[in-house]
């Protein structure tokens, strides 16, 4: 592809280094270190680890604080080695206040899981018609799907709110499920198409020649290739639905309120409640952390809508 034009071809053929190109470690990368690839990588490794710990620090602090008592959580300087306790979790689950987060967690699970199922039911056949047996102008259809994702939610939320209010669907989990389905459908179609496009054409042709019917082809050739893709798509749609706040905040209330809506109750401070906030954040983020790490290998492909492998 790109033709090579070395800017300064010094002593050519000499000092071949096996290390890969980078500029981030600055002076270390020049001169002597180029002869010694292991040292390069050690420096990069240390830098990467320091940054990784820096980025993960808020998450680790959130988890640690959630296991502290409220008085230990609110000290300056921080009490890192304070005794661990589950009090904050008990408080979050409503031991003294009596306000249980369970209805909102169940609402979130319902909305996320059911909308993900609906998305897959709609997206898989669509992706099939866009990759394996493509319709004419299938690229145009793809870009129509994508363009709907680019419309900000705020531009459609008022009519949706008014419609829900008129038909009595406000604070109804099913209406939210439909909204989440439409929110994730374009992403799912793009993802699923990129996964289905990996099904080898030769195998499909061979199956056709051998007289395999559609069901057999689906089961024996397409499913094995597509299964990991379907799983990754499902996990990413689940994450997006679970995280969503604006639609849930506007369209639901006391009955169908989701976990993020429940979390907004912690926006303004309430005295000593830091450990409780952290416990709440941990509990509500757990499903996403699990889903995200489970989908780690396909996360890039999913997040880039299948454009990057």
């Amino acid at each position: 592809m790109s033709t090579l034009t070395p800017a300064a071809p010094r002593k050519s053929g000499h000092a071949r280094s096996t290390s890969r190109a980078s500029s981030t470690t600055g002076p270390l990368r020049h001169g002597k270190s180029r002869m010694d690839p292991t040292r390069n990588n050690t420096a990069a490794g240390i830098a990467a680890w320091l940054l990784a710990l820096l980025f993960a620090a808020p998450v680790m602090w959130m988890i640690l604080t959630s296991f502290h008592s409220e008085t230990d959580a609110a000290t300056n300087p921080p009490s890192i080695a304070a005794n661990l306790t589950l009090d904050a979790y008990r408080e979050f689950f409503g031991e003294t206040s009596g306000v249980s987060p369970w209805p909102s967690l169940i609402n979130s699970a319902t909305a996320s899981i059911l909308s993900t199922v609906l998305v897959l039911v709609l997206a898989i056949p669509a992706a099939y018609a866009l990759s394996i047996r493509p319709v004419k102008k299938w690229t145009d259809v793809m870009f129509f799907f994508l363009s709907t994702k680019m419309m900000p939610v705020v531009a459609a939320i008022l009519p949706l709110y008014l419609f829900a209010r008129t038909v009595g669907a406000l604070d109804n989990i099913w209406f939210l499920i439909l909204m989440y389905t439409s929110m994730n459908l374009p992403i799912a179609v793009w993802m699923m198409r990129s996964f289905l496009a990996e099904v080898p054409v030769e195998m499909l042709e061979a199956a056709q020649i051998d007289g395999a019917n559609l069901l057999l082809t689906l089961r024996k050739i397409i499913a094995p290739v597509a299964m990991p893709g379907i799983a990754a798509t499902a996990l990413i749609c689940f994450i997006f639905s679970w995280n969503e706040l604006l639609l849930a905040r506007v369209l639901t209330g006391v009955v169908a309120g989701t976990a993020p809506v429940f979390l907004t109750g912690f926006v303004s401070g309430q005295g000593l409640f830091l450990a409780k906030v952290c416990a709440a954040a941990v509990v509500i983020s757990l499903p996403v952390l699990f889903a995200g790490f489970a989908a780690q290998d396909k996360l890039v492909q999913g997040l880039s809508l299948g454009a990057v492998k």
Binding site: L4, T5, A7, A8, P9, R10, G13, H14, R20, S22, R29, N40, N41, T42, A44, G45, A48, W49, L51, P58, W61, N76, P77, P125, R133, P134, V135, K136, V141, F143, F145, S147, T148, K149, M150, P152, V154, A156, I157, L158, V189, N243, L245, L246, P260, V267, L274, V277, A280, A281, I284, V288, L289, F293, Q296, L299, S304, G306, A307, V308
Partner: protein, 322 residues
């Protein structure tokens, strides 16, 4: 080779004289191909396009739900208000500032991290997992943690560490930050950069790993400096990945509601358009005005999206050509 697939999908096209029978069969076949696509397409048109058309109509109305009898056609009045009202103008400016700064900062940091993670070192997998973690915290929860556990002026971790470090060197009056009230925009930006950097890193890392290594090795053999290799080989290759990450990020961050809502409740000039629109229709009940502002967001997004679509399309064409 899109043309190849397209040709296969048009059986009988090369036949000299298609009979009426075969033509109707061809049409039935085309519909059979389209059938699996239709449910998704129709569903999406109803749920996303229809409401936008309604928004467009409302944007030309003078409609406040508190005084519904005064509802009337307003022409472009709402649009004039959106562009002249100081709060909404500020919201437009805030949206642009927020989007541009978050996207650029997370791209630059993400590129640095991707370059580091592209090398082999001990525990690389674990470091990568740790780096992804910020992206996998529920956005509202992340904003809450930043607000209460990290940036809180009295017992937040950042001020706590400042006190601790000062005490370590014998000082007892450590400087204490109060980002949330002194530089609220900075607080929102920092928390969003923290959440979005992993996203950029993942896309750029995938880009780095798809780099053809033979040219890099050849350049190394020829004695090219690491900087020259980065500048002339790596960066041109990464260009489309940088564009993709930046534009996808921009599309999400333009729409950001969670961080603004949680960290600052839109106070002190941090209200972006999504938050301002939410306020306008949810609390002020100005339906016409909110809709006009919504249409303005869409126009802005279309401008960004045109570039985004072009980038995605260039990657997509490459893939479709295989």
């Amino acid at each position: 080779m899109t043309t190849a697939t397209a040709r296969i999908s048009r059986p009988g096209r090369n036949a000299a004289k298609p009979s009426r029978d075969s033509r109707s069969r061809e049409r039935a076949l085309a519909w059979a191909r389209r059938a699996p696509l239709l449910p998704a397409l129709i569903f999406l048109i109803i749920v996303t396009q229809l409401p936008f058309v309604v928004t467009l109509i409302i944007s030309f109305l003078n409609w406040n739900s508190l005084s519904p009898d005064k509802t009337a056609f307003a022409g472009l009045e709402n649009y004039a208000t959106v562009l002249t009202d100081p709060d909404l103008r500020q919201a437009i400016f805030t949206t642009i500032l927020l989007t541009v700064s978050v996207v650029l900062a997370s791209l630059v940091i993400g590129l640095g991290l991707a370059l580091l993670l592209d090398k082999k070192f001990i525990g690389r997998g674990l470091a990568r997992t740790l780096l992804i973690a910020p992206f996998l915290v529920v956005p509202v929860a992340a904003a809450l943690i930043w607000k209460h556990a990290l940036l809180n002026p009295t017992y937040g971790l950042i001020n706590g560490i400042l006190t601790w470090v000062w005490a370590l060197f014998g000082g007892d009056t450590a400087p204490q930050l109060d980002l949330l009230s002194q530089a609220p925009m900075m607080a929102v930006i920092v928390s969003l950069v923290w959440q979005w950097t992993p996203f950029m890193m993942l896309i750029l890392l995938a880009g780095l790993q798809s780099r053809p290594m033979d040219t890099v090795e050849a350049a190394q053999m020829d004695g090219a400096t690491p900087w020259a290799i980065f500048r002339h080989l790596t960066l041109p290759h990464l260009r489309q990945y940088l564009e993709l990450g930046g534009l996808l990020g921009a599309i999400y961050i333009v729409q950001n509601f969670d961080a603004v809502f949680t960290l600052t409740a839109g106070g002190l000039g941090t209200a972006n358009l999504p938050y301002a629109i939410y306020q306008t229709f949810y609390f002020a009940n100005e339906y016409g005005l909110a809709s006009a502002a919504g249409v303005v967001v869409v126009i802005g997004t279309i401008i960004v999206a045109t570039f985004a679509l072009r980038t995605v399309f260039s990657l997509f064409k490459k893939e479709a050509a295989r």
